[in-house]
């Protein structure tokens, strides 16, 4: 249990694409630093730095086993922020799907007043 639940540090942590990729990987199961470093063209120390940021934000936990110290996702602190984002996304996705149809219609039938006359 930690009192550290700072969403601003969660967001600072999420703002980096490498860290988001690390989280995406960990969402599929725990992994060691070596495994995490593999897909990236950056050094293990650089990965370790990213992991520290994620750990400080409470987004991941690291095992105690000396050598490998596997990392895993801590879901709870992130769930709130992601839950909100999902709802926000759903709102805009629903609206944008309608906007797609509207734009299609506007392009198909440009007989809508070409001058900027007022509609009756």
């Amino acid at each position: 249990m930690t009192t550290l639940d700072p969403l601003d540090s969660v967001f600072a942590a999420l703002a980096d694409p490498t860290r988001r990729a690390i989280l995406a990987r960990l969402a599929r199961g725990e992994a060691s630093v070596v495994e995490l470093a593999r897909p990236f063209a950056i050094s293990q120390p650089a990965i370790s730095k990213h992991l520290k940021v994620l750990e400080r934000a409470g987004l991941i936990a690291r095992g105690r086993r000396a050598q490998s110290r596997p990392c895993r996702l801590r879901a709870r602190p992130m769930a709130r922020a992601l839950d909100w984002l999902e709802k926000y996304r759903r709102f805009w996705e629903t609206n944008f799907a309608r906007l797609d149809s509207l734009l299609e219609e506007l392009q198909a039938g440009p007989d809508r007043n070409p001058k900027k006359g007022k509609k009756p």
Binding site: L82, K87, Y88, W92, D100, L106, Q107
Partner: protein
């Protein structure tokens, strides 16, 4: 429809950025965001809600006001703000405040439209007053609760990436 998927990405500690591609020139997208008769056609919210008020005074310093109503119980959700920059068909900046605010201060919503080969990439940036305001936004109570299973979490993290 081969429009790109919607992306939401945090930027810094007080901004959220939405990007989405549309298969239409940006003039039409700009119109759809600024003409009330067109706004009414798409910004109608989630299923089960109606879009009751859509007022737009499109000039710098002019106000807009939108109100949605939940059909099941008549609950009203209203918001509005003031236009700060109107540069058709490229950019639209307005303040945004909800009637029942759950975060301090106003947010600023910036719409940027880039066009290439008749297609438009929309970038919508929400800038909150402070990191605390963004935190309040993200902390707001959720109908769905905090029930994110690992699958869902995986999907969400992927979609952020």
């Amino acid at each position: 429809m081969n429009t790109g998927p919607l992306k939401i990405t945090p930027k810094g500690d007080r901004e959220l950025v939405i990007t989405r591609e549309f298969a239409a020139p940006r003039k039409l997208v700009f119109d759809a965001y600024t003409k009330p008769e067109l706004i009414r056609r798409w910004l109608t919210g989630l299923d089960g809600w109606t879009f009751d008020v859509c007022e737009v005074d499109l000039r710098v310093g002019g106000k807009y006001r939108w109100v949605w109503k939940r059909v099941s119980d008549g609950f009203l959700m209203g918001m509005g703000g003031v236009y700060r920059e109107i540069s058709p068909p490229v950019r639209l900046v307005a303040t945004e405040k909800f009637d029942q605010p759950w975060y301090p201060g106003e947010a600023i919503c910036t719409l940027d439209l880039a066009e290439k080969n008749g297609r438009t990439t929309l970038t919508q940036t929400m800038t909150y007053e402070s990191p605390e305001a963004l935190k309040a936004v993200l902390d707001s109570p959720m109908e769905s609760g905090l029930s994110a299973g690992m699958d869902r979490l995986d999907k969400l993290v992927q979609s952020l990436a």
